[in-house]
């Protein structure tokens, strides 16, 4: 346990208690995040029920290739994040694997944002920002895009925070300024990262798949 004592923080007397408290804390936070995104998705669902045809027409205008690639990118980032977290938790000096997987996770997160940026550019070129110049005429299509910009924007902010958190761990791990073995910070950060992935898993069928049947 000598390696682990370096990770012990106030006010805990035992490392396992500290680790358990951290994990419980992040899960309570994730539960509140579920409600936050749940409310947004519920708003989307209510608007969808009331404007079924308009949402199909609006969904058809989204770029399915950007959406599908980004889903695959985020799922892959969850793989690298899970491997990093489990390799660190194993406590068997897998430092290089942990640092490599954390770096890959950051790279995949950035790749997601780059693809999203290209997608936002295309959306703006197609006048899909709600307002006077809006491209679609179906009543309700503006509601779809209002929620599209809001929900994907809030998701992107969450992902940016995740990239900063994982990037910090990768950098400190690379510089050997952070003990990676059994460090609960990695597990907690990984749990947050997976939640951001899960939100996107639900956004994908809601935003990109409606209206593909013609």
């Amino acid at each position: 346990m000598s390696e682990v004592t370096g990770l012990l923080r106030e006010p805990w007397e035992h490392f396992e208690r500290q680790r358990g408290a951290g994990k419980f804390g992040i899960w309570v936070f994730l539960a509140s995040e579920m409600l936050f995104f749940g409310a947004l998705i519920l708003t989307y669902a209510v608007c969808l029920i009331e404007h079924m045809d308009a949402f199909a027409a609006a969904g058809r205008e989204t770029n399915i290739w950007y959406g599908t690639s980004n889903t695959a990118i985020l799922l892959t980032s969850s793989l690298t994040m899970a491997v990093a977290s489990q390799a660190a938790a194993a406590g068997q000096h897998l430092r290089r694997l942990v640092v490599a997987c954390l770096t890959l996770t950051v790279a995949l997160g950035l790749a997601f944002l780059v693809v999203k940026g290209f997608e936002y550019k295309e959306d703006l070129d197609k006048h899909l920002w709600p307002g006077a110049q809006f491209a679609l005429h179906e009543p309700g299509a503006q509601l779809f895009y209002g929620l599209y910009w809001l929900i994907t924007g809030v998701h992107a902010i969450h992902l940016t925070i995740g990239i900063a958190l994982v990037g910090r761990l990768a950098l400190l791990g690379h510089l050997k300024k952070l003990q990676l073995d059994e460090n609960p910070e990695i597990e907690v950060t990984a749990l947050y990262w997976h939640l951001v992935d899960i939100i996107w898993i639900f956004l994908y069928p809601l935003i990109y798949l409606p209206g593909r049947v013609s």
Binding site: K23, L35, I201, V213
Partner: protein, 107 residues
């Protein structure tokens, strides 16, 4: 305080290969489900088409929560925290949709 690391120490050593294999299978399943939902979105099944997308999303989310986030092997307290979130989200949806769906049917 007993040594809580004894459980992991008694197992075979964790190697990079073993970690990639265990998690790679889950990742492959997730990508298969992604392409399945993409393909099925183009199949005419009436109201089932959007439903299938949501159902597949639930399966994907379950895989991530239970296996990548290791909720399946977590302590009861952690499961309770996760379940609390799910129950409140479910309540939010159930009460709101009970109202909205009744109105849409009535008009």
């Amino acid at each position: 305080m007993t040594n809580q690391n004894s459980a992991s120490a008694s197992k075979r050593p964790t190697t990079a290969w073993r970690l990639w294999r265990r998690n790679g299978v889950i990742w492959a399943a997730l990508l298969c489900l992604l392409f399945l939902s993409l393909g099925l979105a183009y199949v005419q099944m009436g109201l089932f088409t959007p439903t299938v997308g949501i159902v597949i999303a639930f399966i994907k989310a379950s895989l991530v929560i239970l296996l990548f986030m290791e909720l399946a092997s977590s302590k009861a307290l952690i499961k309770l925290a996760a379940l609390a979130g799910l129950i409140f989200v479910a309540t939010l949806f159930a009460l709101t949709l009970a109202d909205v769906l009744a109105r849409v049917g009535g008009q």
